[in-house]
Amino acid sequence: MEKVTMEQLPELFEAIALQYKENADELCKMDSKMGDGDLGLTMKKGFGGLPEIILTMEESDFSKKIRKAGMEMTDLVPSTMGMLMGTGISYGGKALTGKTELDAEGLVLYLEGFAAGIVKRGKCSRGDRTVLDCIGQAGDDARAALNKNQSASLAEVCQAALDGAKKGMEATKSMVPKYGKAAVHANVSQGIADQGATAGLVMIQGMADYILK
C-alpha cells in the first residue's frame, strides 16, 4: 500500500480497533497492577468508536477529518490515555494540513504531530515512562527512515515506526513512573513496560496491520 486515502481512513482505524479488541484484557491486567485497571476498556471503546465517527462525519478535508475525529474520541473516553490518544490523533491530523492522503511523508508528520499532541496534553517529556516514549520513538525512527531515503515507501516508513514503537516500549521497562496513579507504584514498576507505552505499540501495530498487509 502506497498511501491511505480519505475513503480508506475508516478501514485503517478499523484495523487499529481490532488490535485493541484483541489486547484489551492484557492492557487491563497491566493497568490493574500499576493503575486502576481501566486502560484496555477505554482504548477498546475509544478506538472502537473511531471508524463510525469518521464514517458519519461530514467533513471533506482530509486533515480536518482526522483532527475532528481525535477530538470526538476524547469526549468518548475522557480518561488519561483517552485524552492523550485523542489529542494525539487530533494533532497528528493537524500536521497533515494540505494533504489529501497519507503517504510516507504524511505518516512521519502524523506521528510527529501525534507525539507533539501528547506532550501538549500530558505536559510530559521523553523518559517519563509514558506512551510518549513509544510514539515519540516511532516518530523518530520513521523520520530517520525517510531522511535516509527520501523516496522510502509508506510501508518502509511504517515498518520503521513499528520497530521504533517496540524499542520505545521496551525502553520504558527501566524508567520510573512520574505521572498518574502509577507514580505511587514506582518501586514495583522496574522490568515491566509502561502500560500506556504498551497501548501505544498496539496502535502502531494496528496501523502496520493495515498498511503492511
Binding site: T74, D75, P78, S79, T80, G82, G180, K181, A183, V184
Partner: protein, 330 residues
C-alpha cells in the same frame, strides 16, 4: 454486590435523574446532557466556578453547586473523568461575563480534560483560570503531584465566598489558592467500595486492618496494619499534617472531619474529639469544625482529617452562609 440500583451501566444517570427530580428548583443540566450539572440561579457579572470529576464521591463534587459555592460540575462515570466537551458546555451555560475558575482535584485525567475545555473556551473568548486541589499529604512528598481529596471543600468555600462578593477572576483564584496553601489532609480506609460496573471490591484489607494514607479510589497508602484507636489515629494524622505544614503555638485552624461513606457519624465525632484534644496539646486551636460526609467513596469505610490554617480573611470566607441542595450553612 450489595447495591441498590437498576442496571449498573445506568448507575450515574439514574442517580442524576433522582437529583434533578428532587432539586429541580436549584439545579438544571446544560446541553441536554444530565452530566452537565449547573446552577439554575445564575448571577450576572459574577465569576463562575466550575468543578468536575468522577462520580462516586457524593456530596463531592456536584453537591457544592449552589448559592455561595460553585456554579457548575461535570459528572463523570464512577471514578471516571467527565469529558472536555461537557466541561465546555457547562462553562458556556454558567459563565456570566466575569470569567470562569476551574477548580477540581489533581488527577491526571481530570487535568487533561479541564485543559482541553479551557482551550475550547479560549476560542470562544471565555476567560478561564485553573487550580487543582492537592491536599493529600501522604500521596506524595512533592506538593505538586499530590492527589486532591476532601480539602477541596475549603477551596470551594473560599473561592465561592470571594465570587459571591463579586471579586474578579484573579481575586477568586487567589482566594482558592490561599485556602489551598493552608490546607492539608490525611485519610485512611477500613473497607473497600464496589464500582457498580465491576461488581467487586476495589481493594482488599484484612479483618481488623486499616490502610493509612489510602486514596479515595483505593490508591495505596503508606501502611496497612491493625486498626488503631481513635486517639492513635488522630495523633498520627495530625503529626503528619503538622510536620508538612508547621503550626506555631496559638495557630487557629479550621477542621474538616470527613467520613468516607460507611463510617457512622458517631465514630466521626469520636475521632473529631480525639483530634481536637490532640491539637490542644500542640497549642493549636480549632476555630471551627465540619463533621460529616463531605467527600466519600461510596460505601468505603474510613475517614479523613483536613486542617486549614486560618486568618481573619479565611475565617470570613468559611463563615459565609451557603445554600446548595446538599450543603447548607447559615
Amino acid at each position: 454486590m450489595k447495591k441498590i440500583m437498576n442496571q449498573a451501566e445506568n448507575y450515574t444517570d439514574d442517580m442524576l435523574k433522582g437529583i434533578y427530580a428532587v432539586h429541580g428548583d436549584m439545579v438544571k443540566c446544560a446541553a441536554n446532557d444530565l452530566r452537565c450539572y449547573c446552577t439554575a440561579q445564575k448571577v450576572p457579572g459574577k465569576v463562575a466556578i466550575v468543578t468536575g470529576g468522577g462520580n462516586g464521591h457524593l456530596p463531592l463534587f456536584l453537591g457544592y453547586v449552589g448559592d455561595g459555592m460553585l456554579d457548575g460540575c461535570g459528572v463523570g462515570g464512577v471514578f471516571q473523568s467527565p469529558s472536555g466537551k461537557q466541561i465546555y458546555n457547562i462553562t458556556r451555560e454558567v459563565e456570566a461575563g466575569a470569567g470562569v475558575l476551574y477548580l477540581y482535584g489533581n488527577y491526571t485525567g481530570d487535568v487533561m480534560v479541564f485543559d482541553d475545555a479551557a482551550e475550547r473556551c479560549d476560542m470562544d473568548d471565555i476567560e478561564t483560570r485553573s487550580i487543582v486541589g492537592a491536599d493529600d499529604v501522604n500521596s506524595s512528598a512533592d506538593i505538586n503531584v499530590r492527589r486532591g481529596v476532601a480539602g477541596i471543600f475549603f477551596m470551594y468555600k473560599a473561592a465561592g465566598a470571594k465570587a459571591r462578593a463579586m471579586g474578579d477572576l484573579d481575586a477568586v483564584l487567589a482566594a482558592a489558592q490561599k485556602a489551598k496553601d493552608n490546607t492539608r489532609t490525611v485519610g485512611f480506609a477500613l473497607t473497600p467500595c464496589i464500582i457498580p460496573e465491576k461488581g467487586e471490591p476495589n481493594f482488599e484489607l484484612g479483618e481488623n486492618e486499616m490502610a493509612m494514607g489510602m486514596g479515595i479510589h483505593g490508591e495505596p497508602g503508606i501502611w496497612n496494619g491493625p486498626i488503631k484507636t481513635a486517639d492513635e489515629i488522630a495523633k498520627e494524622s495530625c503529626d503528619t499534617i503538622l510536620k508538612d505544614m508547621p503550626c506555631a503555638e496559638g495557630t487557629e485552624v479550621a477542621l474538616l472531619l470527613n467520613g468516607l461513606g460507611s463510617t457512622p457519624l458517631d465514630e466521626q465525632y469520636i475521632l473529631c474529639n480525639s483530634v481536637i484534644e490532640y491539637l490542644k496539646t500542640k497549642g493549636v486551636k480549632v476555630y471551627r469544625s465540619w463533621v460529616g460526609e463531605y467527600a466519600t467513596s461510596m460505601e468505603m469505610a474510613g475517614a479523613s482529617i483536613t486542617i486549614c490554617k486560618v486568618d481573619d480573611e479565611l475565617k470570613g470566607w468559611f463563615d459565609e452562609p451557603v445554600h446548595t441542595p446538599f450543603y447548607t450553612q447559615i
